[in-house]
């Protein structure tokens, strides 16, 4: 396990598994109902910014999971910030990660841990 983690940390090409497949599947519904009207059903943006690819999170942006998740959990949806449940917010993040090339794994995203996470968020989608 330690070996895998250090390898992932060293090689930017292998993003960590941060969420479960069940979370991202549930997140697809959360996204469609609460986010897609501004960010687009394909996450490519509209009235809100793109949430996929290099126009969202390039290496140069130096985004972290914590910074992005804080924005989502505390500012979104724009009309009803903070109105979703913790599980819905983590599911939405899982879905966004899945669309940006982050793999599903066996450990679920945790709401509080994600708010403070310093794990880099760099889209794998070119």
């Amino acid at each position: 396990m330690a070996l895998i983690l250090s390898a992932a940390g060293a090689a930017a090409a292998a993003p960590p598994a941060l969420y479960t497949a069940a979370q991202s599947a549930s997140g697809a519904t959360v996204f469609a109902q609460n986010c897609a009207m501004c960010h687009g059903a394909d996450l490519k943006g509209g009235a809100g910014p793109s949430l996929v690819g290099q126009s969202f999170a390039s290496a140069a942006n130096k985004y972290t999971i914590g910074a992005i998740f804080s924005e989502i959990a505390e500012q979104m949806p724009a009309g009803q910030p903070g109105s979703l449940t913790h599980d819905q917010y983590t599911a939405a993040l899982a879905y966004i990660l899945s669309k940006n090339g982050y793999p599903a794994g066996s450990t679920a995203l945790d709401y509080n841990a994600s708010l403070g996470s310093s794990v880099p968020l760099v889209s794998q989608v070119k």
């Binding site: 009207m37 501004c38 009235a47 809100g48 910014p49 724009a78 009309g79 910030p81 903070g82």
Partner: protein, 577 residues
């Protein structure tokens, strides 16, 4: 191969659009130029006389802002014979098409979402050129209400437009080549531009958006020939300005007041009229005072940008009742007295008539179910304190934050003496929540939900005619769907407006009788129709292309239209005799 936008890919894929796709502002192929008249440069006197011009020279047709065309070929008797003269073909951008086409001679200039500009032959639909503006990703962070662009302004040989990243760009009207490109604010910090500019006496006048981000609103004047910045007038008063004492210390800096809709102009008094939007943050308890000049009509000297007078529609607004709906210049008689007036159907649910020479109220009459405003006292709307949200206090009131009427242009017909007003029937709940300002983030301080109006069950929209001499409703068409498109009045007696279901409707302006309903135009209509004549023949044009503010902000009320088809298409109609 470089990545191409959806727009460009669409152009490449569309047959019959000529060969000039994929590059910016290509010169015309010889075949497209054949049959195109020499371009007539747009002079100040042409703009002053726009009302009688055969084209449609500016956003609201002429400086009066009435959206009234003097053409008489299309009448209640023959409007049922309208048929499609030409269309743009489907433009595969899934955002709202809010553009008003601009016509000069046989040249038509349109804009699409994401700030693309296209020129067509107004008779045949042949595409003359396209300009594919590149909006940087940062700009999309701070657009509130879709990626819309409402159109160009004309001056000399230029077609001039604003962008979501706060540039003003002038193109050669005959070729689409960039003549000048000026940044008036940075993208991503709150500002955006969606309105069409207005050209007055050689100046380009344009206002900022950004009221949901605490961006301090401003109106900017540029030299039309060079783009040089001439004056800039902020819409919130600083401490050293008149009205500066209507804000808590420093609050004017993040106080909004975005003048995000094109204004009008009175040549007789050399006065610009521009509306200012909602104060920021939405939660009024954070900014006690009248918050001048938010939610106000501003009368401005176009030579200097100096404020001549103001009329505030909603003081210390907490319901997002922007004062930006078009101030339409018209003469009217009220209680036996003649006035040079401005009429405006306000977000706060009142239809206003204001003396445009003095800024004094003539009348204000409620035109939609209204619990936020208790009435008019001493010439001013009086807000209902019982329905003002506060921290942890939830209220329910009407109209909703989208207003009794949103941005869609209304129209005035001087012959029927009526205004034609697209109307929303909805209410809302609001709760105050803590907020602190951060550049580029929403600055609201309220959560909010659209709710049905208990006074009009099953009705979200209507199109109504208001008698200018009384402020009272003459006729009204109610619909289950919101009324979400602009109005056009014509001297032939026919009034046009489109529906979210994608139909352009024609009404008898006097009676409201529905005279004609277009076929399904493929997507909902949120834009305003126009009418123009070329070679003695009258046309009516309108964009379909659903999107804009309703799908984003309507919440559960938007469910019936959540899967409405998207994509834009310009339709031009004619009467076949």
């Amino acid at each position: 191969m470089t990545k191409k936008s959806n727009f460009t890919r669409h152009l490449l894929a569309t047959a019959g659009w000529g060969v000039c796709a994929g590059l910016l502002a290509m010169s015309l192929p010889q075949s497209a130029q054949a049959g195109q008249d020499a371009y007539t440069p747009v002079t100040a006197s042409m703009l002053n006389g726009a009302q009688s011009n055969d084209g449609w020279l500016m956003f609201n047709r002429d400086y009066s802002g009435r959206n009234y065309a003097p053409f008489t070929q299309i009448t209640p008797q023959n409007v049922s014979k309208l048929s499609v003269a030409w269309t743009s073909g489907k433009i595969d951008i899934p955002d709202g098409f809010e553009d008003t086409p601009i016509v000069n001679g046989d040249y038509m200039f349109v804009t699409t979402p994401k700030d693309h500009v296209i020129a067509y032959n107004a008779v045949t639909g042949a595409k003359l050129w396209e300009y594919d503006y590149q909006v940087p990703a940062a700009a999309y962070k701070t657009v509130c209400c879709d990626t819309n662009n409402r159109g160009v302004a004309l001056s000399g040989n230029l077609a001039i437009f604003g962008t979501l990243d706060n540039h003003v760009v002038a193109l050669n009207a005959q070729t689409g080549a960039v003549v000048w490109n000026v940044s008036i604010e940075d993208p991503g910090i709150g500002y955006s531009i969606s309105e069409a500019p207005l050209v007055v006496n050689g100046k380009v006048i344009i206002g900022s958006g950004g009221g949901e981000y605490g961006a301090r609103g401003f109106i900017q004047a540029l030299d039309a020939q060079t783009g040089a910045k001439l004056w800039k007038t902020y819409t919130t008063a600083a401490p050293n300005q008149p009205g500066g004492d209507t804000w808590p210390a420093g609050a004017y800096k993040t106080g909004g007041g975005a003048p995000w809709m094109t204004g009008t102009y009175d040549p007789d008094t050399n006065t610009l009229f521009w509306g200012a939007g909602n104060p920021g943050p939405w939660l009024a308890t954070m900014r006690p005072g009248k918050n001048l000049y938010t939610d106000s009509l501003l009368a401005i000297d176009p030579d200097t940008g100096a404020l001549k007078w103001y009329y505030q529609y909603t003081a210390n607004d907490t319901w997002d009742y922007d004062g930006v709906n078009t101030p339409m210049l018209t003469n009217l008689t009220y209680k036996g007295k003649d006035y040079k007036a401005i009429v405006e159907a306000n977000r706060n649910g009142y239809f206003y008539a204001i003396d445009r020479t003095t800024g004094k109220l003539i009348y204000a009459k409620v035109f939609v179910h209204d619990t936020s405003i208790k009435g008019i006292v001493n010439g001013q709307a009086v807000g209902n304190d019982a329905v003002r949200p506060a921290l942890d206090k939830t209220i329910f009131t009407c109209p909703s934050f989208l207003g009794g009427k949103n941005w869609w242009p209304a129209a005035v017909d001087p012959a029927t003496n009526m205004a034609y007003v697209p109307t929303l029937h909805a209410c809302m709940s609001m709760t105050g929540v803590p907020v602190s300002y951060a550049a580029g983030l929403p600055f609201l301080g309220e959560t909010f939900k659209m709710e049905p109006d208990p006074a009009s069950p099953g009705v979200l929209g209507s199109f109504q005619a208001i008698d200018l001499s009384t402020g009272k409703q003459v006729w009204q068409k109610k619909t289950a769907a919101p009324w979400d498109g602009g109005a056009l009045a014509t001297a032939g007696g026919v009034v046009f407006s489109g529906t979210p279901n994608g139909h352009l409707l024609a009404f008898d302006g006097k009676t409201g009788k529905t005279l004609w309903k277009s076929p399904d135009l493929g997507s909902g209509i949120i834009a305003a129709p126009i009418s123009y004549e070329v070679n003695g023949k009258q046309y009516v044009a309108v964009w379909s292309g659903w999107g804009g503010v309703w799908p984003i902000w309507s919440g559960k009320l938007g469910a019936p239209l959540a899967k409405a088809p998207r994509g834009g298409q310009l339709y031009v109609f004619q009467v076949n005799q």
